[in-house]
Symmetry: C2
Subunit: 331 residues, 2 copies
Amino acid sequence: MKKLINRVDAILTESLDGFAAAHADIVALGDDHKFIRRRDTKSGKVAIISGGGSGHEPLHAGFVGHGMLDAACPGQVFTSPTPDQMLDALHAVDGGAGILFVVKNYEGDVMNFDMAAEMAADLGIEVQSVKTNDDVAVEDSTWTTGRRGVAGTLVVEKIVGAAAEEGRDLAALKALGDKVNAATRSMGVALTSCTVPAAGKPTFAIGEDEMEMGVGIHGEPGRRRVKLATADAIAAEMMGAILAELPAGKSNALLFVNGFGGTPLMELYLVYNAARAHLEKHGLTAARSLVGNYVTSLDMAGCSITVTLLDDEALRLWDAPVHTAGLRWGM
Amino acid sequence: MKKLINRVDAILTESLDGFAAAHADIVALGDDHKFIRRRDTKSGKVAIISGGGSGHEPLHAGFVGHGMLDAACPGQVFTSPTPDQMLDALHAVDGGAGILFVVKNYEGDVMNFDMAAEMAADLGIEVQSVKTNDDVAVEDSTWTTGRRGVAGTLVVEKIVGAAAEEGRDLAALKALGDKVNAATRSMGVALTSCTVPAAGKPTFAIGEDEMEMGVGIHGEPGRRRVKLATADAIAAEMMGAILAELPAGKSNALLFVNGFGGTPLMELYLVYNAARAHLEKHGLTAARSLVGNYVTSLDMAGCSITVTLLDDEALRLWDAPVHTAGLRWGM
């Protein structure tokens, strides 16, 4: 295993120290590295908290800041954070208007965020949760009952974050998050495995001429292991699966090509080019685009495609100012 | 070779098509894929043009837009663009106040940009060039006489771009670019090779327990091939070499940890954390920070560290609004 680290058991804390120092204008680190919080929390605003296993950076800590998350709780690599992390984060950013959790649909995450929500309720703090499940590749999988929450989680976080900034109440934010999640579909492909530091070797073996179609963001299996195909053929299959679950018609869409960490930007733009042709053939307009490494799987080569249908409200909220380490515009 | 592509000879054009479509609000593609230009060029403003071999994305096309470059000329992967590309770009973005080229110090780039400057002079268009040579790893190397221009090029482009936006004249911009380049030092390390698509195999072989200290951004040799060390030891050597060439004292610095494309963000922040300690021990303050994949080498694992001393002017220009695909703030 080749990694720029000191000791396997110090990766997360040293990385979080670096992150918090590099972005001290936006974020602060919670005690015991339990969470990253937004520096300028607002009283009277619903606080948005997300989190999950580390290794997907910039998700989630990279999306903490104005117009997006109030806090993110990082677990060990590909391991859910614990309920006490969410509770500590919640106390740090609670503005008195309730808390919205954004949780990717993995059993560990769902269990721990639900437990934190119950503990918060006992303390009289109202919590609602939006569970993202945008991955169309498979029903149920290694760590998930139902569909997995993947790169579309970024879109939900951006849009509910903007609405929270505008002062929307908790019930409205929960409804908006569910709506955006329902309008969001994703699918991924892996050309290589990733290597979890604590394991010290690739998560899965894959042939020099093979790809894992429908891979999950932890390298968990997708639909099938097949021969490597052209970018056009890959985009055709992924867009076919995504678009089959979204209504056609003259709608605006966000087209988001996400790198898993090991694939050059040149290739991501090439995939974007192929995916965009399918989107337009389906009658949708790429009103907004996002291309880059945003929801990664350590050093895995490959990418996912996400399409979100944008009504006027979602489009406006997507465009609203955001100031985080990983996503920034309008300020 | 595992890449998300259709055909090796179509990678660059298909990727540029995707890039131009994804960022059509900021950029436009020149005829025959010769350049990426800024959409809203300004009359009376010095135009800043850069370029170089592809494979370093987002450099340079990703830095075209308000407050940075007016055009970028992409060569084939790791191959200089040709003078006719620079001439066409120059005609497209010339605002009548002269042209500043920002050129990384590689023999091919220097030769082709110089030739374009001479051809422009024959047409009565004044061109000045800033040559970046921030890499302290080696004097002279595979494709360079003198030091190589690497990630510090981004810093020069950002700062002269901001000054051009303010209406600074060509002579002043040339002087500013040279000043920022002289205040900027970088060094890199590779844990793996990259794979140039046309070659189809890794550029160099490297052992499972080795690293290339002082690697260039095309995978060309650095100082020495040694056993993989801890992030702290790597940061200590790189910062030692960088800081030896910069004056100590209570100065503000930009600390920029740049990924080469194959290294997860978690590791880059960990390296940042280690590098920052050395910066502070040297008496410098990390007044500004940048961490991410900005000047890449396709899928190479590894990173570089860049330090730029920021006087008040450079600090203000670094903070000035920028709106490009790869770097954006303040707007």
